[in-house]
């Protein structure tokens, strides 16, 4: 009998809202105005999470899944959330999910991230008139190349560069988010940039 016991795991999806209305329980649990509403979190941060996920993966489907995982983790943690560094939590969660998925996908297939991805550089205005079209096309091309270069970085460098240059976080913040010393932040960012410089050589030189 012991040894072969099976758990049936059911994944159940409520199709109507539970309880409805605001989550204010009768007793109230003292979170007060610092409490974040779920809808507000979605409106404010879904784009941030999705964009970051896309920058890290260069794949729309992967970015969706990642963003969804992240948002649901936030949802689950929201109840425990007290006034604090929400964005730090958001970034940390995003990177945790990113790493989990990376590990899993590595196990599943040894190949690297998909080389091809549609619309890499993000939205491009399709009906830009005249000469602007060319400029627009060129910009989109650069963005595509940069995005592809980003995902060729080792994940740890990629995270650091995205947090720094894309999200504009300070070294201190990055150290806290990644839970690494400041010196490591410096070297990861730097190494990431050096690798990018090699990958993007023709584009880096444009100004000099």
């Amino acid at each position: 009998m012991p040894g072969t016991f099976l758990w049936q795991v059911m994944v159940i999806r409520p199709v109507a809202r539970l309880g409805g209305g605001p989550p204010g329980p009768a007793g109230g649990d003292g979170d007060g105005p610092e409490r974040l509403e779920w809808a507000e979190v979605v409106q404010r941060y879904a784009d941030v999470v999705y964009t970051m996920a896309y920058r890290l993966t260069a794949d729309d489907e992967e970015a969706r899944d990642l963003a969804q995982d992240v948002m649901l983790r936030l949802h689950r943690g929201l109840r425990r959330y007290r006034r604090g560094n929400f964005e730090g939590w958001l970034y940390r969660t995003t990177l945790n999910v990113f790493r989990d998925r990376l590990r899993k996908s590595k196990r599943r297939r040894e190949e690297a991230w998909p080389e091809h991805a549609a619309g890499d550089g993000g939205p491009v205005a399709p009906d830009a008139p005249g000469a602007e079209v060319e400029e627009e096309v060129q910009r989109a091309e650069v963005q595509r190349v940069v995005q592809q270069a980003l995902i060729q970085l080792p994940p740890t460098y990629r995270e650091a560069v995205v947090l720094r240059d894309f999200e504009g976080r300070s070294y201190d913040e990055i150290a806290r988010i990644l839970e690494i010393p400041l010196g490591t932040v410096r070297s990861r960012i730097h190494r990431g940039r050096e690798a990018l410089r090699d990958l993007l050589e023709p584009y880096v030189g444009t100004s000099s």
């Binding site: 649990d29 999705y50 964009t51 969804q68």
Partner: protein, 269 residues
């Protein structure tokens, strides 16, 4: 002389970012004045940084946002022995009946509140095999007179279900506080502890702790009971009281493994 004193490239990167302290900053600045090599490197690093910085922000796909806003996805567990579970939905009750019976504690519930979107088998006794989803089924809600509805704090009864597992009737109650769930499951007879369950004790009472924090089993009323708490670190005072004789301080030991497992299941979908 100045060739020896080339700036550590990491410092150069930090300089480009304006992340150096005053002392270091002026030292690096002075060096850059006189060293074209380092200047060129710094320019390159700034160029790379600029390329990443000009990447556009994107909008999350609408369908993702809609899904996030409207649905809540949850995972729960059933204990089953042997074959894949066959289940029988038993009984339906209108929301009105639910409300009448249970009074104001119950939120209004639609009769088909819940839809099962997949079933996964897992063997906890070994490294878990890859679970498989086995298709959709609808679950109907029932009302059970003897739902353990003694509630404390913010958890409210959100649903009562009944099913047949291997010819055996099982009842389940689901509680929610709006963001997390507790599931209490009851079947007749003694509890046959599967592997992964450890005997434990709570104030002289025999219980079992499950393979995940937040999972407990005990016997009482001629039934075996199973508690699954989704939320780690549930405040014991804010929890339904499924222990007939009192409230288990064991719950304070609820950890994060349950959440982790739910996450893992999640990502399978």
């Amino acid at each position: 002389m100045s060739a020896d004193a080339h700036i550590d490239p990491r410092v150069l990167s930090a300089h480009v970012d304006g992340e150096l302290g005053e002392g270091e900053k002026s030292r690096v600045g002075a060096h850059l004045e006189t060293c074209p090599d380092c200047r060129r490197r710094a320019d390159e690093l700034a160029g790379v940084s600029g390329l990443v910085r000009q990447m556009p922000r994107m909008k999350a796909p609408d369908d993702l946002v809609t899904r996030l806003l409207s649905s809540r996805h949850r995972t729960w567990l059933w204990p089953v022995t042997g074959e894949p579970m066959r289940w029988v939905a038993a009984g339906v009750a209108a929301a009105a009946v639910v409300i009448t019976l249970a009074g104001p504690i119950l939120p209004p519930i639609d009769a088909d509140l819940v839809r099962v979107s997949g079933m996964i088998r897992m063997d906890w006794s070994e490294p878990a095999p890859a679970p498989q989803a086995t298709g959709d089924q609808s679950v109907r809600q029932i009302v059970s007179k003897d739902a353990p509805s003694r509630l404390a704090g913010s958890y409210r009864l959100a649903g009562a279900y009944e099913m047949e597992v291997e010819g055996k009737r099982a009842e389940q109650w689901v509680y929610t506080d709006g963001s997390s769930y507790l599931v209490v499951l009851r079947t007749k007879g003694a509890f046959r502890a599967p592997s992964g369950f450890q005997p434990a004790e709570w104030e002289g009472k025999r219980v079992w702790s499950g393979p995940h924090p937040g999972m407990w089993a005990w016997e009482g009323d001629g039934h075996s009971w199973l508690l699954l708490a989704e939320e780690p670190a549930v405040d014991p005072a804010a929890v339904v009281e499924p222990f007939p004789e009192g409230r288990p301080s064991l719950w304070s030991r609820l950890g994060s493994a349950w959440t982790r497992m739910a996450d893992a299941l999640w990502s399978l979908l």
